[in-house]
Symmetry: C2
Subunit: 477 residues, 2 copies
């Protein structure tokens, strides 16, 4: 018999070190406002403090944990700081982190139902829960023709939707023969860049992705879309897919889903709705008008890891016709065959996305929904929207600034009237100060500041302070 020498952490060591890590995180959230929101390090600075080669001998856990403070924190941009107003948020919460910890601890593979039935069934169940919670159509339910799945990001959801559209439009032959060169996809000039990437990946090509022009509110012009589809049809092409957005990344613009859906049905195009950020708002009935027409979507996604207090990654993706998706992405080698699958009695999620292996991500989503309840989720979403609207009011009433786009929810696009350079200076100074972090976009060719209120712990005082600091830097600029 071999000696049972081991380098593994024992359960008791895990308990002790685990408590230390939990304490570290609790302390981190208690002191998070003391850090500059945007990391101030220079390229290469973090690497310079790390040893050139990996250790030959194992190290003590305390040493490793200490290095988080010493070596890692300086290079962290604090996405969980209440003074984080940049991009779109990635807002975590206690129940999400702990649900995810359980997922890491169990560390099951959910590729097939049979490889851990609870991993598949909880996911299906929670995604069914979300359908009425968000006012989505019943056809997205697993008890109907559709169903939901957790993907890593909206980029992957868009890609899967585009692939399913590609296959449906070519009678499921592109998977065999290669992408049919006549396929055309449509988005707007404001659609997320992941659509461009999806067209590249799927072999459709960027030249066959039409970026339709938008109106003065940065929403797609349905009449232009219709004309383009008709022109492409006349040219012998195969219009197949439209991506409409509820809340674009640049300015939170709302594409007119109902009108787009009408055009899609007329021409038999797959309609994918990307509500990555703003989908969370639909938890509140008063914001659901923004998704009018979603009942005609073939697929839809939103990211609880953006605004619904669920740490990354967690993108929820629904299809109206799960068979179309599965037919597009299914492969079945012998070593994955099993009775439950053969009987057709179960969902095997590996056929719903690109990767084979999959994490038990529904645990954290389940924890979040149960911890907050619908009531708690609604409360915080409403509060974020209220704070953003208040900020927009301050901008509106200040002669030095202007709003550059409508503010339907929690993103405010604004600029100092003194021009691009002034805005760049204001932003750079704010971000360098570490007091808050915001980012920019270009709208109508002009550099525009974006302030998004969606971080879990952002309260009124943080937004008040952000405006105060912006005004101070505007004085200087």
């Amino acid at each position: 018999m071999s000696s049972e020498k081991t380098f593994h952490m024992t359960p008791d060591e895990f308990r002790r070190y685990g408590h230390a890590v939990v304490d570290w995180i609790a302390d981190y959230y208690s002191r998070i406002e003391s850090f500059p929101v945007l990391s101030q390090v220079k390229p290469g600075q973090i690497r310079a403090s790390l040893p050139e080669v990996a250790p030959e001998k194992g190290e003590r856990f305390d040493t490793i944990l200490n290095d988080i403070d010493k070596l890692i924190l300086p290079g962290i941009t604090h996405w969980q700081s209440p003074n984080f107003f940049a991009y779109f948020p990635s807002n975590a919460s206690g129940p999400a982190i702990l649900g995810d910890l359980l997922s890491s601890g169990l560390d099951v593979q959910g590729m097939l139902w049979s490889t851990s039935p609870a991993c598949t069934e909880l996911e299906t169940h929670v995604l069914d829960w979300l359908v009425p919670m968000l006012g989505l159509p019943g056809k997205f339910l697993s008890s109907s023709t559709g169903g939901g799945v957790i993907q890593d990001t909206a980029s992957s959801s868009s890609l899967c939707a585009l692939l399913a559209a590609r296959e449906r439009a070519t009678n499921y032959t592109s998977n065999q023969k290669g992408c049919d060169g006549r396929i055309v996809a449509y988005a707007s000039t404001q659609t997320h860049s992941s659509l461009e990437k999806a067209a590249m990946v799927a072999g459709i090509g960027v030249n066959n992705l039409r970026l339709i022009e938008v109106d003065e509110n940065f929403a797609v012009r349905p009449e232009v879309l219709a004309k383009q589809i008709e022109a492409d049809k006349r040219a012998g092409l195969l219009p197949s897919f439209v991506c409409a957005t509820i809340g674009t990344t640049s300015s939170n613009a709302m594409d007119p889903i109902a009108e787009i859906a009408r055009i899609c049905r007329q021409h038999d195009l797959w309609l994918h709705v990307d509500a990555a950020m703003s989908g969370t708002a639909a938890l509140c009935p008063e914001f659901r008008h923004l998704q009018n027409g979603v009942e005609f979507a073939d697929s839809y996604c939103f990211n609880p890891h953006k605004w619904m207090f669920t740490n990354f990654d967690c993108d929820c993706f629904w299809v109206a016709d799960r068979k179309a998706l599965i037919k597009t992405l299914s492969i079945l080698p012998e070593y994955l065959r099993n009775q439950a699958t053969e009987m057709g009695a179960v969902i095997d999620y590996r056929d719903w996305h690109i990767p084979l292996g999959r994490r038990f991500r529904s645990l954290k989503l389940w924890f979040v929904i149960r911890h907050y309840g619908l009531e708690g989720l609604q409360h915080h979403v409403r509060e974020h929207v209220r704070l953003a609207q208040q900020f927009a009011d301050w901008v509106r009433k200040d002669d030095r600034f202007e709003l550059v786009a409508p503010v339907p929810l929690n993103l405010v696009c604004f600029r100092h009237k003194a021009g691009d350079e002034a805005n760049q200076i204001i932003m750079d100074r704010l971000n360098r100060s570490g007091d808050l972090f915001l980012t920019h976009t270009k709208l109508n060719g002009k550099l525009t500041l974006r302030l998004c209120v969606g971080q879990t712990n952002t309260q009124e005082r943080h937004v008040v302070n952000a405006w105060k600091r912006i005004c101070e830097e505007a004085e200087e600029a």
Copy 2:
């Protein structure tokens, strides 16, 4: 001012509940052998115990945590049980789980260097560490022309490699014009099914993926590969990509990398090496002969989340020419522009894979390498190989059984000589007993049992018992 009513977990609540979850996991590992390895539930059984609709009001954390035992555990297949010998393992460890917990707590987005420099730099650094640790070529280092990145799974790495090959072969025009229909990719009949999926996704089409026949050891026949490439060239096609495998999923077969590489260089094809499972063995110099020729690979991946004690997901992917990969996957919308990127001084990992957002996954890998040290990792890998070889010896010496494939490392493919039905019965009985879990494949058309020794906590006594139980069921069969 608004009332600061909140539904969030406070840092102190997080501390208390966090300790409880850590304790739950520690206890889980202490009692893990008491559960049936393969979940015994029927389809729908887990969902049947869950409430139909989501809660309106938030629930207490203890209630939620209690439900893990009550509602979830029956539906868990225990991938972390030392009696798990199925598929390939997905082996977690204490330091990995705690590194991942920190990643959840910080919850940063690593899409750009600037969105959290430490997230990018630690990843680059740890992947550079691994190059000499695994005896990989220096061109994979970020200080050379290449570099490494963490992907979710080997499926995604294969897809990215195939896309880069597609673009290189068409002078980077397929992204614009759509996939060139002349592209041909090559793998073997034993290559992982994700290659087929990648060919579908990339718009190349399964018809343009040649599955080359294998020899008696299930390794690809290089002379057949060479002939097929030549035939395709004569036919006016564009041979572009070969995937070679170090340790196939079915039987752990080793493709002859050096010979394949010679053919790839001769015809200017991209060579991707998939070592998802067996790459970990290269930590030990005595197993590196299995990857002879890897110095000629254009890309390479292995999964620490399989055999290197790092919880899912963590696939390490290297390229020899990072420019080819970045040129294939790069997009740059205005809202992601920033100074560090413009200066070209940094890596922006969103250009190295499909998703935009990304988790701080290098933390867990860093924790694992530092906790175990190279010495500890080698020890456990060697022990797993020793136990598998010992098991193979028992099979070899038992007249009732036969080995069906060579056993280069830690996977044993064997069968009872009484035929497919007997083997199916033996496997089903073992798996239903809950004492251990193994799966099957088909080799030379025959149903073959697979026993893989790679679970973190598997010791000699578990392998001894597995053999004892297999022999018992063989008596019955």
